[in-house]
Symmetry: C2
Subunit: 241 residues, 2 copies
DNA sequence: CTGTCTCTTTACTCGCGGGTAAGATCGCCT
DNA sequence: AGGCGATCTTACCCGCGAGTAAAGAGACAG
């Protein structure tokens, strides 16, 4: 407590060359961090496999080859475990937004970039927890926290859509509805991805983005005449309807 | 037991004017059916509000102003209760497919008709149960049953898409991915619809369908007419690779 | 060797909730 | 006038799983 290094210089000198007595302690800290992460990842995997309520802390502990109290040494409650998994997932998406903000491209492309990483996050080991962390399973405080984060993501998507519509890179539409549709399709990946892993999360997101962009109504002007499988080129100048 | 009516005529005569002794019994049957439905609807509402695992049978009973064993008089287990709710939801969608099959319209329109009723079903009181009935919460037998029904719906959508592509009413695309995207967006309604009920389920589905059809990439100049501040020409080459 | 700090275990508590046993109640039939 | 079947209740059982108390096992310092 009171033995904190007197000066930054002294501390730095001790760190690098000599086996300072502080080194061991720092290493332990690091190891502890690693173990904590392992606990959270194990929890995510089990929640993913069997669902939150069908997973006991004994299960998670067994998976780590330790006992339940050990798990409790690293987290305070099952609820917090779920919350941490949720955070790990959502943080990937927040990072995607931060990166996209730097990008100097039309909003539509920035949106697509975000959606790709969104899809990857949902397909990740934390996807299930992120998508399905229900307020009903959580204390009011955590529920509020999660809701706020989800809302942030939602409004981020809406904002990109709105920008895109304004600058003309996105077809005019209701940003709220569009955001719900996009996020819904991507979120749902978490439900079926466990069974069918033939594609990576990013690939799925790519396929979805392509679909959302093009739309399902044929684009080529010949759409009304039964076009077999010609329409490989997108409509350029001409229009349908 | 042995006093079954000798002829249909006798039975019919007894039903209408006279208070046949069978009437009471039939009325009881009917009432029983009604009560059973009430139990299932109450369960759906509670599952919807608090989730399957956070709802106890005491909760459901209390909501009906009866006691737990009464609920068990109508239903054999909590699991079955969830299953019945699931069935009630999915049956609406199966009906939509049956009706659409009659329709003599392009596959794209039949698909849209199905999707509209799909959305309405998801937004109904059974939507949550239908969408979230997890195999993990159910016995293997029921899990298989539910999976089969879900798969039936999924393949129905894929089939309509495939038909549409073949006849040219739908832009060529991967039916499997497209079905996942569509169903995902609609299923997800169940997650946010409880909070935001500003639109009916059918209206939401309508909005989604419009969106899916048109796509988010601006269509040719014609659709551009409605855009207010004269958005510049969209660059063709700017699509992400 | 000894105190102490970190990490992990064994061995519990305890309430919740699914499910049941054994009647009460009530209307109907004979 | 009493039996009977359908309906609903009171009063219970019991296992599971979240969470905890308390003690052991190492590592390191002095």
């Amino acid at each position: 407590m009171n033995s904190r290094p007197a000066s930054p210089g002294a501390a730095a000198r001790a760190v690098l060359p000599a086996p300072s007595p502080w080194r061991a302690s720092r290493e332990r800290l690091r190891e502890r961090e690693l173990k904590r992460d392992a606990v959270i990842r194990a929890a995510a995997r089990e929640f993913n496999r069997k669902g939150y309520h069908n997973t006991s802390l004994d299960d998670i502990a067994a998976r780590l080859e330790v006992t339940k109290p050990t798990v409790y040494y690293y987290v305070t409650s099952k609820e917090q475990l779920l919350f941490e998994c949720f955070l790990a997932g959502i943080e990937q998406i927040r990072a995607a937004f931060r990166d996209a903000r730097e990008l100097k491209r039309p909003a539509r492309e920035r949106l697509n970039a975000v959606l790709r990483r969104y899809g990857a996050a949902v397909a990740s080991e934390f996807g299930w927890c992120m998508v399905r962390a229900e307020d009903q399973d959580l204390s009011p405080a955590m529920s509020r926290h999660i809701k706020a984060l989800k809302s942030e993501i939602d409004h981020g998507i809406r904002r990109l859509i709105r920008e895109g519509v304004q600058e003309g890179s996105i077809e005019p539409c209701d940003p709220k509805m569009a955001a719900f549709a996009l996020a819904g399709a991507l979120n749902w990946i978490a439900h079926w991805y466990r069974e069918d892993r033939s594609l990576s999360g990013a690939e799925i997101a790519d396929a979805f983005v392509t679909l959302f962009e093009a739309g399902m109504r044929p684009r080529s002007n010949a759409s009304r005449a039964s076009v077999r499988d010609r329409p490989r080129r997108r409509a350029r100048g001409s229009t349908t309807r």
